[in-house]
């Protein structure tokens, strides 16, 4: 499938380039879009103020990465996760993480079956195409790691038997900010497995008025229908990989990674996994913007989502703003 075909699938129906590709950067680094989500019938009424976030989330899935949504309770993290799963037309399971959860609650257990006289494996909620892991940082590290292992390997080993997970397989995790009570913050190594982390933020006044005047969210959610079939999604993922990244652009991504490694502002620079991810998401963004090649702008727009959760500032107590990290990098690395 070429990118034109991808456009015909995605753009007219749901996810056209509402974020203007020529928009100045200071707008691109925040997640407050100015225009409402118009074309997608599903999206229009559910999360009209968060089209940029949705586009980023979609880019993440096209780049075959996992998504982490972090924000305060009540801004619509879970709803976004639900909407994504629904629109993609994939099987999905929602797991609410709690502090007393055990790995078996996610992966599944073997139960003795009296009829057959043997143990039979009851797969856990992870055996699905989309796992919505709600409030992942409320579970203990042991349980978190069970999920995160599955994310990286795309398979689960229980009692010696390795079971592959379905294709495609996404984890959309939501988490509360680390300073909330009762959270077990994810360590850097596990944060690195999430390709993108997005923050939703409060809706703008117009969007909030719309939200308040609208129907009940749960009802609307159940009314959503899928935009894509799983086959189409896999084709789109393949198309994403074919988006052209010119040598100059690859140099640019490399320069960004090199800068984060050399600059003293962060504890450690971007890993090669992160720079690979950055390029993949930029490709997906270019596809969603209806282009067959990646522009530096694509990299710059997706940069906050890719680097924010990976770079820990040295002066952590100062808590630099989320957009600050990315714009600092962007303004420090000249285009090659």
């Amino acid at each position: 499938m070429t990118y034109n075909a991808a456009q015909s699938v995605i753009i007219p129906q749901s996810l056209s380039s509402r974020v203007h590709p020529r928009r100045p950067l200071h707008h691109a680094t925040t997640y407050r879009p100015r225009r409402s989500w118009q074309r997608c019938p599903g999206c229009k009424s559910s999360h009209s103020w968060q089209d940029k976030a949705i586009k980023l989330a979609l880019a993440c899935l096209l780049a075959r990465g996992h998504l982490l949504i972090e924000d305060l309770p009540g801004v619509g993290k879970t709803t976004l996760a639900h909407v994504l799963a629904r629109l993609l037309g994939l099987d999905f399971q929602r797991v609410q993480f709690t502090s007393d959860m055990l790995p078996a609650d996610i992966i599944g257990v073997s139960v003795f079956d009296r009829d057959s006289g043997s143990f039979r494996f009851h797969p856990g909620p992870i055996f699905t195409q989309v796992v919505v892991a709600d409030e992942i940082n409320r579970a203990t590290p042991k349980t978190q790691s069970a999920l995160l292992e599955a994310m990286e390997e795309r398979q689960v080993t229980v009692e010696g038997a390795t079971r592959p997970l379905p294709e495609p397989f996404f984890v959309i995790a939501t988490q509360n900010p680390a300073h909330q009570i009762g959270t077990f913050p994810l360590p850097e190594s596990q944060l690195d497995r999430f390709l993108i982390r997005i923050e939703l933020g409060y809706p703008d006044p117009a969007a909030e008025r719309e939200l308040l005047a609208g129907d009940d969210r749960r009802t609307m959610l159940s009314g959503l229908s899928a935009c894509l079939t799983p086959t189409q999604l896999i084709e789109l993922q393949q198309a994403t990989r074919k988006i052209h990244a010119a040598p100059a652009l690859i140099d640019y991504v490399q320069a960004i990674a090199a800068y984060t490694r050399a600059a003293p502002d962060w504890h450690a620079g971007l890993s090669p996994r992160a720079s690979l991810g950055l390029l993949a998401v930029a490709r997906a963004w270019a596809l969603l913007s209806g282009r067959d090649h990646v522009l530096p702008e694509d990299v710059q727009i997706v940069l906050p989502g890719v680097v924010q959760h990976r770079l820990r500032p040295v002066d952590d107590q100062l808590r630099v703003g989320a957009g600050d990290t990315a714009s600092k990098i962007i303004e420090a690395v000249p285009l090659p």
């Binding site: 100045p24 950067l25 010119a246 100059a248």
Partner: protein
């Protein structure tokens, strides 16, 4: 200027502190303790202030401190001028300047002071360690200089940048080192007053004066032989000759060095060698018996001491040939022979008595008397020791008949005395005996503990003949070395004995490295420079030629660097160069392109700022972005879109 008023950031302050400390610490052994302590305290305090982000002290306090430091230096040295007072003042000012870092200009002053202080340590010592320390300091200071303009990069990045800068300077450094016209003499003609009087032989020999040297393993000189070195027992390095005896100590006579040609004719086989003499502050030039030619700037005295015209204060290298079969002094002057027979009127009666018997028995047969004396020394069963007992009066009687234990000066002194008492002209020769071949580089290393004294006896028809009475009682001293001859329980310098093989190995390697450094870096004198350049094909290099070559080669290096930079520039993408031209034009109209800005985003902004040109701006930016970032449409007409872009940009006149 605004740039100079830019405040010094915290990170820059740390850099400056590091540079100042690294420049100051190597000097701390030279400066007086009060200065070292107060300057270090000031720097530590400055570090604390930086950490706690305190305010800098007021100006009046700094003025007071500066006056106090100056007064302290003047009180210490009685002057403000000279090497040590100057360096003390600069160190104090460096510490105080750190308290006054108000702007970039102050930071620059600190950096320059650091560079200068690095230089000053070479006025005192020029060892490998000093050079290494100086390199470290220069690296840190250069990194500080880099941090003064941009302190954001990580420390290791700044250090690397500084290292690259220094490496780029390396070709220039080598060129300057090799070709810069040399002046004879120590560095900048500065007096080398740190040579202590205790190092090396002196012009008199009393009991104990050479034994004192036996505790020092300082290197006296190094020798490189052409071919295999002669056997150990031939290595008599002749130094001061002492014919005058006052009953206790022997002295050199007060004759001036006159002869620039040896007063004898050399015969027999020869051995070529080259000596590198450490600066001992004395005039003696040590050589094997007997040379055919004298080194430059040196002369022979009547009693065959080889003297330099000036005391040797820098490392001195000379090539010599030794003709061991040469006989000297067969036609010695009567006055010299008379001097070699003089004895004080009284003292040492028992020795005189024995000598008188020899005289009686053999009359004028001096050779027989000498043989008799040797036999007498053998029969007395004298023993060789580093710790001879102290003898008050009649030292020679005491040694020969009572204690019977002595060091080489006792042996030589007693032998010469006995022969003089028997009417045979004899004198003491001091110098070094033996040496140790460093297996690493093959140089023979002669140390202070190889100092030795022996006698020369004048025999009719044969002239002056060397007799070493120490060899009679302690043959291993001559055949091997003094540590082998010394009794087991005598205190010796560390590593003088053949134990601790691995430690000796380490020392051998370090000394070989030092030797290379001495020979090629410190010993790169005008003479060696001339030899080296002649080896490179210069016929007779004079300073004009060297300067011209220097300038030409520096020019070549500069050209090479420039060419390299230009080559680097050529590898800039041609489309990007067009884009830069385009953005420059827009920049003149007030729309600046940031180097990180996406072309399309910039075009959007520019189009809004210049609505009349919106269309061409968007088109050019779009064409450029496609050219740069899209997949090439056809490999064959890759040139066409670029030519198109170039034409568009050339035509574009905002």
């Amino acid at each position: 200027m605004a740039r100079n008023n830019r405040p010094v950031s915290q990170r820059q302050t740390w850099w400056l502190l590091a540079a100042a400390l690294s420049a100051f610490l190597p000097l701390s052994t030279l400066l007086s303790p009060w200065l070292v302590m107060s300057a270090t305290a000031t720097m530590l305090l400055r570090g604390w202030m930086t950490w706690r982000q305190w305010r800098l002290p007021p100006r009046w306090l700094l003025v007071l401190l500066t006056i106090a430091a100056t007064a302290g230096v003047i009180a210490e040295y009685r002057t403000m001028f000279g090497r040590l007072p100057g360096i003390s003042l600069l160190s104090a000012f460096l510490a105080l300047k750190l308290l006054e870092l108000r702007g970039a200009r102050d930071a620059m002053a600190v950096v320059l002071l650091c560079y200068f202080l690095v230089l000053t340590q070479f006025m005192f010592t020029q060892s490998i360690a000093t050079a290494f320390m100086a390199c470290v300091t220069v690296l840190i200071t250069t990194a500080t200089l880099a941090a003064a303009t941009d302190d954001r990069p990580a420390p290791q990045l700044l250090l690397r940048r500084a290292g690259v800068l220094l490496l780029q300077g390396l070709p220039f450094m080598l060129l300057l080192f090799i070709l810069f016209p040399r002046v004879q003499g120590p560095l900048w003609g500065l007096p080398q007053d740190r040579i202590t009087a205790s190092s090396g032989l002196s012009d008199s020999m009393a009991p104990g004066s050479i034994a004192r040297l036996s505790q020092s393993d300082t290197i006296a000189f190094r020798v490189q032989f052409e071919g295999a070195p002669p056997p150990q027992h031939m290595l008599y390095w002749r130094g001061p000759v002492m014919p005058a005896f006052d009953g206790r100590s022997w002295r050199v006579s007060r004759t001036s060095a006159q002869r620039t040609v040896p007063p004898f004719r050399v015969t027999g086989t020869s051995q070529n060698y080259e000596v590198t003499l450490e600066p001992l502050g004395k005039s003696w030039i040590f050589a094997l018996d007997y040379p055919d030619k004298l080194p430059p700037e040196s002369a022979y005295t009547e009693d065959l001491q080889l003297l330099s015209r000036q005391p040797i204060r820098t490392r001195f290298r000379y090539s010599m040939s030794a003709f061991p079969d040469t006989s000297v002094g067969a036609d010695e002057t009567a006055s010299m022979l008379t001097e070699s027979l003089q004895l004080p009127s009284g003292g040492n009666p028992r020795t005189r008595e024995v000598a008188a018997k020899w005289r009686e028995k053999y009359g004028d047969n001096t050779e027989a008397i000498v043989t008799e004396a040797e036999l007498f020394f053998l029969r007395q069963l004298l023993s060789y020791t580093l710790n001879p007992p102290l003898l008050s009066e009649d030292v020679i009687d005491g040694f020969l008949f009572e204690s019977k234990r002595g060091f080489c000066e006792h042996f030589a002194s007693a032998f010469a005395f006995a022969l003089r008492a028997a009417g045979v002209p004899a004198r003491i020769v001091a110098g070094y005996q033996g040496g140790e071949v460093n297996p690493v580089d093959g140089y023979l290393t002669v140390r202070q503990y190889d100092a030795h004294a022996w006698t020369e006896v004048w025999l009719k028809d044969r002239g002056w003949v060397r007799f070493d009475p120490t060899a009679i009682s302690a043959p291993r001293r001559i055949a091997d070395n003094f540590a082998a001859a010394a009794p087991e329980n005598d205190a010796l310098p560390f590593l003088a004995r053949n134990n601790m093989a691995w430690l000796r190995e380490v020392r051998n390697r370090m000394e070989a490295a030092t030797n290379v450094w001495n020979q090629w870096v410190l010993g790169y004198t005008p003479q060696r420079q001339r030899e080296f350049l002649q080896g490179l094909g210069f016929k007779s290099p004079d300073w004009q030629e060297m300067t011209a070559t220097l300038a030409a080669l520096c020019g070549v290096v500069l050209l090479a660097l420039t060419a390299w930079i230009l080559y680097q520039r050529k590898s800039v993408d041609p489309a990007f160069r067009q884009w830069l031209k385009f953005t420059q034009r827009l920049g003149k109209r007030g729309v600046q392109w940031h180097v990180w800005e996406d072309p399309l985003v910039f075009a959007d902004r520019a189009a809004k700022a210049l609505p009349t040109h919106a269309e061409p701006i968007r088109e050019i930016a779009g064409a450029y972005a496609r050219l740069r970032y899209a997949a090439p449409t056809h490999a064959s007409d890759h040139g066409t879109p670029l030519a198109h872009l170039r034409a568009r940009i050339t035509a574009f006149r905002p």
